[in-house]
C-alpha cells in the first residue's frame, strides 16, 4: 500500500490561559485563580491518501478549525504529531516550519479579511512564490496571470485591488494564491460558508475542476453537510475535540452509526424534503473547558448508558472502512461487572 500523504497521529491541542494578577490575588483567598485549559483537540488520528479530499464536519467548538491550523503548521500540537509525506512536521521550529508552510496551503472563510486591501491581487498571488524562490523571477508575472485565469478570472485583473471584486471573485483569488505555492495539501476552512448560494455553486465547481486537473489533496472543513457530501471522498465527524465517526461519504450519509452523527443529520433542514421535525438533539454543546467525562456526547445522547459516563469510547472499525467512537460499537453501554 502506498504511504498516505498526511498522517495525523494522536494529536491533542490545549490552549491555556494563565490567570491575570488580580485573578491570582483573589485566587489566593478563594482557592481559585488556576490556569484555564481549553481542550480543543483530544487524541485525533487519521490518514489522508494522496489525491483524497477529506471533509471535517462539526458544530462550533468541535475543534475542526484547530485541526486545520495544526495541519497547516500554524499551531504546534500539545501532544501527538503530524506527518506529511513520511516526515514529521509541525513540531519543527524555524527553517523547517517555513518549508512546511509552502507545502500546505490554507484557504480561509472570509475573503474580505484574508486579502491585503492595499495590495494588487497579482502581487498577493506572487508574494509567496517570489519569497520562497519557487518560480524564477522572470516568470512570476506570466505564472500569476496563468493562475488567475486558471481560477476563472481575467489575467488583466492582476492589477486590481481586492475591493474591486465581489466575495466569490475574492475567494477565487485566495484559491489562486494557495495554488501559486504548488502545495501538496490544501486546507479549506469554511471556504464557501460566507458566499451566496448561487456563488457557492460556482466556487465548488471550480474546486472540483481544479482537483481533477491538478490531483489536489485537501482537508475540507465545513459545517455544511450537503456541501461536504458533494465534494469529499471521506468525511470525519467531530464533537468537542474528538473524532466520533470517519467513513467514506456514501457510507456515512446512507447509514450514519454514531448517535451524534445521526442526530446531526436529523436536525439539518433540507430543501424540498417536506421535513417539519428538527428537534433531534436536546440540550447545548458543553464547554470544551470542562468537557463531560466519558463520552463527550453522553449528556445529550438518547442511547447513553452507565459506561458512557465513565469511559471514553475509542475509535474502532465498524465495517466498510468505517470507524466509530461509540460504546454501542464495542460491547454495549452497560458497565462490565468488575468481578467477572
Amino acid at each position: 500500500m502506498t504511504q498516505p500523504l498526511l498522517k495525523i497521529e494522536n494529536v491533542s491541542k490545549r490552549f491555556t490561559r494563565m490567570p491575570g494578577l488580580a485573578e491570582r490575588l483573589v485566587g489566593r483567598l478563594t482557592g481559585g485563580g488556576k490556569p484555564v485549559v481549553v481542550h480543543a483537540l483530544s487524541d485525533v488520528s487519521f490518514d489522508v491518501a494522496r489525491g483524497e479530499v477529506v471533509g471535517i464536519v462539526g458544530e462550533s467548538g468541535c475543534g475542526k478549525s484547530t485541526l486545520g491550523r495544526v495541519v497547516s503548521g500554524i499551531y504546534a500540537p500539545s501532544d501527538g504529531r503530524v506527518v506529511l509525506d513520511g516526515k514529521p512536521v509541525a513540531h519543527e521550529r524555524g527553517g523547517n516550519v517555513e518549508k512546511l508552510t509552502t507545502r500546505v496551503q490554507m484557504i480561509h472563510q472570509d475573503p474580505f479579511a484574508s486579502l491585503n486591501p492595499r495590495m494588487k491581487v497579482g502581487e498577493t498571488v506572487a508574494e509567496g512564490p517570489r519569497h520562497h524562490g519557487i518560480i524564477p523571477r522572470g516568470e512570476v508575472q506570466a505564472r500569476v496571470r496563468a493562475l488567475i485565469e486558471k481560477v476563472g478570472l481575467e489575467g488583466a485583473y492582476a492589477d486590481r485591488l481586492p475591493h474591486q471584486f465581489s466575495g466569490g471573485q475574492r475567494q477565487r483569488i485566495a484559491i489562486a494564491r494557495a495554488l501559486a505555492m504548488d502545495p501538496e495539501l490544501l486546507v479549506l476552512d469554511e471556504a464557501v460558508a460566507s458566499l451566496d448560494v448561487s456563488i457557492q455553486a460556482q466556487v465548488l465547481n471550480l474546486f472540483m475542476e481544479l482537483r481533477r486537473d491538478l490531483g489536489l489533496t485537501a482537508l475540507f472543513i465545513s459545517h455544511d453537510l450537503s456541501v461536504v457530501r458533494h465534494v469529499c471522498d471521506r468525511v470525519a465527524i467531530m464533537y468537542l475535540g474528538r473524532l466520533v465517526e470517519l467513513a467514506p461519504a456514501d457510507v456515512l450519509y446512507s447509514d450514519p452509526k454514531h448517535p451524534y452523527t445521526r442526530a446531526l443529520f436529523a436536525s439539518v433542514p433540507t430543501v424540498g424534503s417536506g421535513k417539519r421535525e428538527f428537534e433531534a438533539i436536546k440540550g447545548e454543546i458543553p464547554s470544551p473547558i470542562n468537557p463531560p467525562p466519558g463520552c463527550a456526547f453522553h449528556p445529550r445522547c438518547p442511547l447513553a448508558g452507565p459506561r458512557c459516563r465513565v469511559e471514553v469510547p475509542k475509535l474502532a472499525g465498524a465495517g466498510a472502512s468505517r470507524t466509530v467512537a461509540c460504546h454501542l460499537n464495542d460491547g454495549g453501554v452497560e458497565l462490565k461487572d468488575k468481578a467477572a
Binding site: S166, S198, I199, A201, N205, R229, V231, R276, A280, I285
Partner: protein
C-alpha cells in the same frame, strides 16, 4: 378576515451621493394569523431592508417612499412617531440575527424584560417579572426563574436568541419579523429553535415573517415563500409551489445550485455572474444578464403572472403542466 400583516407596494429608497438606489421595490405580500412567511434572497436582495421598512426602522439616507403596511388593518405608515412607538413591541416586534442587538449587556435578563413589559402595560415589577418568566418558559428555556437573574454574557448564543424571541413575544404581538435569527447558530441549536417557532405560530396565532438566505430552512419552516432579487419579489406562493414547482428562472437556479440533490462530485448547475449592484441595474428585469431564458423582451418591465396564487415577475416564466 383581516390579514395579520398586509404589505402593499412597499418601496424604500436610499439617496446617496453616488445616486439613488431602490433597495425595496414595490413589494407586496400578506401573512395571515398563525402563518409563517419566508422571505428568501441573497445578499443585497433587499430582504432585510424590507423587514426594517415594515417597522419604520430605516435611517437616513434611506426613506420609505411608497406603499402601505397594515397590521390588523392599521396602516403603520400613517401613524405619528409616538403612535408608531406604541405599536413596536406591542403589535409588531423584531428578532435580529445578533441577539446582542436586542439585549443590553449590562442589565440582567429579567430587568430588561420587565422594562419591556412595563413600557406598554403599567404594572408592578414583580408582576412584570412573572410575565417575563412565562415568556422564557414559552420559548423552552430551562429553569426560567434562574435565567431572569443572569446577565446576557452568561448565556450561550442559542440561549440569547431564545431570550430575544421571548422579548419579541412579551406582548403577544400580531406579527414578529425575524431577520436571519438562526444564521449564526449551530444546526442542532437551530433545529431546536425552528421547532419552537413552528409551535409558537400554531399555538399563539402570531404571524411570523422569517427572513433568510437559507432555502432549506424556509422550505421546512414556512407556509408561504417570497423570493427576492434586486429589491423585488420575483416569485411568491405557498412553500409547496415555490420549492417543488418554481416558475421564476431565478428561483429555479437557486434551487438547482443547492448541492444536496445532485450526485456527489458532478458539476453543480450554477447561476452565471454575480449578485447585482443596486446602483447599476439593467433596464427591465434585473435578473436578465444572468438568466438562461432572457430575450430582448426582458429589457422591458416584466409583467406580473399569476397562476393559482403563485405569482411571478417574469416575461418567460417556466411553464408546468
Amino acid at each position: 378576515m383581516t390579514a395579520a400583516l398586509d404589505v402593499k407596494g412597499l418601496t424604500t429608497r436610499f439617496d446617496t451621493r453616488g445616486g439613488s438606489v431602490t433597495a425595496v421595490n414595490n413589494v407586496s405580500f400578506s401573512v395571515d394569523k398563525g402563518r409563517i412567511l419566508g422571505i428568501v434572497g441573497e445578499s443585497g436582495s433587499g430582504k432585510s431592508v424590507t423587514g426594517f421598512s415594515i417597522l419604520g426602522l430605516i435611517d437616513e439616507p434611506g426613506k420609505v417612499v411608497g406603499g402601505s403596511v397594515l397590521i390588523e388593518g392599521t396602516d403603520l405608515r400613517a401613524l405619528s412617531p409616538d403612535d408608531m412607538r406604541g405599536m413596536r413591541g406591542r403589535k409588531v416586534s423584531m428578532v435580529f440575527q445578533d441577539p446582542m442587538m436586542t439585549l443590553n449587556p449590562v442589565l440582567r435578563v429579567g430587568d430588561q424584560m420587565a422594562m419591556a413589559v412595563r413600557v406598554h402595560r403599567p404594572m408592578s415589577k414583580p408582576k412584570a417579572l412573572e410575565e417575563a418568566r412565562r415568556a422564557l418558559e414559552i420559548v423552552g428555556i430551562p429553569s426560567p426563574a434562574e435565567r431572569l437573574k443572569a446577565y446576557p454574557h452568561q448565556l450561550s448564543g442559542g440561549m440569547r436568541q431564545r431570550v430575544a424571541i421571548a422579548i419579541a413575544l412579551l406582548h403577544s404581538p400580531a406579527v414578529i419579523i425575524a431577520d436571519e435569527p438562526t444564521t449564526a447558530l449551530d444546526v442542532s441549536i437551530q433545529g431546536q429553535i425552528l421547532a419552537e417557532v413552528r409551535r409558537l405560530a400554531d399555538q399563539t396565532g402570531t404571524a411570523i415573517v422569517w427572513i433568510t438566505h437559507d432555502l432549506a430552512v424556509v422550505s421546512s419552516l414556512a407556509d408561504d415563500i417570497c423570493v427576492m432579487y434586486a429589491g423585488r419579489i420575483v416569485e411568491r406562493g405557498t412553500a409547496e409551489q415555490v420549492i417543488s414547482a418554481p416558475r421564476h428562472p431565478y428561483t429555479q437556479g437557486l434551487l438547482d445550485s443547492v448541492p444536496a440533490q445532485h450526485e456527489p462530485g458532478k458539476p453543480l448547475p450554477q447561476i452565471p455572474g454575480s449578485t447585482p449592484q443596486l446602483s447599476r441595474l439593467p433596464s427591465g428585469c434585473p435578473f436578465r444578464p444572468r438568466c438562461p431564458r432572457a430575450t430582448e423582451l426582458c429589457a422591458t418591465e416584466p409583467p406580473v403572472d399569476d397562476r393559482d396564487g403563485q405569482i411571478v415577475l417574469c416575461h418567460h416564466p417556466l411553464e408546468r403542466p
